[in-house]
């Protein structure tokens, strides 16, 4: 693996997507500001905006940095560089997830901090951690579908599916006994169910990345 070349390609995507990243940061920080107001209404509006900003970032990154390479016909330019398709795939998966993880981590930490400093809602922290990881699963799904299919239609389908899944999983997790029992309490309680859900989410991320590399290694036509 030519790591210096992978790094150059990742930095290229960071540069080309810089305005999207900055816009997400601005939107995310504004959302955290709204949550910090403290009222119930502000909390839900802020949370909704925060999730929207992250979901929009994952979709926009996949469409622009992955599908866009084929759609805008810049793929022949990139693939004319001294790289293999494995290195290209690595740069796209790792690069896009890193771009996503930075604002995601800032916003997740911001959310935890707000909840931690509010004695009434500390019980929400495990649920927030599970849902924040679910947003990461969602971003990974969209990036994997975009890399494998390089098609706008499939990527949009993955974005829609991920979004529906996020709402559905949010509802289901809130009704899992081991999470729901302590969710609205004033202290943090990490139940075995909460741990199991988090481990499952990270396992799904690992499986999706592995499947993407496996599928890419079997491709025979890259243009």
């Amino acid at each position: 693996m030519n790591y210096p070349m992978v790094k150059i390609l990742m930095l290229k995507d960071w540069y080309l997507q810089r305005w999207i990243i900055l816009a997400t940061f601005a939107g995310g920080l504004a959302s955290l500001g709204i949550i910090a107001i403290g009222s119930d209404g502000a909390f839900f509006i802020g949370l909704l905006l925060l999730i929207t900003a992250l979901v929009a970032l994952s979709g926009q990154l996949a469409m622009s940095a992955i599908v866009g390479e084929r759609k805008e016909q810049t793929l022949p330019f990139v693939m004319s560089l001294p790289i293999s398709y494995r290195e290209y795939t690595t740069s796209k998966i790792v690069g896009n997830l890193l771009i996503f993880v930075v604002p995601w981590a800032v916003m997740a930490i911001g959310s935890f901090a707000l909840l931690a400093f509010s004695p009434k809602s500390q019980g929400l922290i495990p649920y927030t951690a599970i849902m924040a990881t679910e947003i990461l699963v969602n971003a990974c799904l969209v990036a994997s579908v975009a890399v494998i299919t390089e098609a706008q239609s499939w990527t949009i389908a993955a974005i829609i599916l991920g979004n529906i899944g996020l709402n559905g999983i949010g509802y289901l997790v809130a009704h899992v006994n081991g999470v729901a029992r302590w969710m609205w309490g004033s202290s943090i309680h990490w139940s075995p169910a909460a741990y199991a859900l988090l481990i499952t989410e990270f396992a799904i991320i690992g499986l999706m990345i592995g499947f993407t590399f496996f599928t890419q290694s079997r491709k025979k036509d890259f243009l």
Binding site: M5, Q73, T74, F77, M79, S80, P82, I83, K220
Partner: protein
Amino acid sequence: MIAVHFEGVKKTYPHFALDDINFSLPAGCVMGFIGANGAGKSTTIRILMGLVHADGGTVRVLGHAMPAEQAAAKLDIGFVSEDMRLYPSATIAWHMEFIRSIYPQWDATYAESLLRRFDLKKEQKVKGLSHGQRVKAALLLALARKPKLLVLDEPTTGLDPVARREVLEEFMAVLADEERTILFSSHNTLDVEQISDQITFIDRGRIIDSNDKEIFLDRWRRLRLVLPADSELPSVPGVIEVGGSGRMPVLTTNRFEPAMVSAYRDKGATVQAVDNMTLEEIFVANVSSRRAGERA
């Protein structure tokens, strides 16, 4: 040294197949790769670049087995294709810096001189460039990395005559470097004729002919005959196509020798003219005679 070597290369798609592609391009040569649209030029070039994996056969480029060693091979290849685009939101300067960071042999002085020669402005974003300027910018990025092998897939398609002239002149300047090898695909035979010293014709996924340009131009001729009344066209080896009418046939040969003229004269025919053929005429005659042979 052989820069590009294809041996028994096959690639099958549902509605198209490359069949048994064999050719070699020695280092320092310029090969014109000519074929009609859909003949298989781009697929062949993509296999050469490692971007499409062949179903069978072997490909070696600059001593590297493709596609396994494509990353190492592409360090010394400059590639420009008609369907290649640069990043629209970035400037030419950003692209130059991007390529410079990858290729240690990047020649900044040469890049600057190409900017001036192509009348390009570094600060300009790619989305604001015309098609001709985009092609020139892509060429600049390919040339200034000083590649040992330049692969050009229809680079002059869609260019206006002035831009085409500038681009071809730059290719000719590049040819001054005898170490440089160029594979130049096009359906525009005039462009290919100007810069190539080897020609390969491809049609319907098969290489139909490959030789030195001068050999093509020397061996292909059109003979205009007048036959005596009530006589048939004498049979002379090397004629691949007969046109014209009755007593005034026009023959196309791919094995012309002055002895052919004497042979026809000896058999009573009057040879009115022996015409040279352009590369385009040779290509068209070659394709139609092969296709006629396949139909027969």
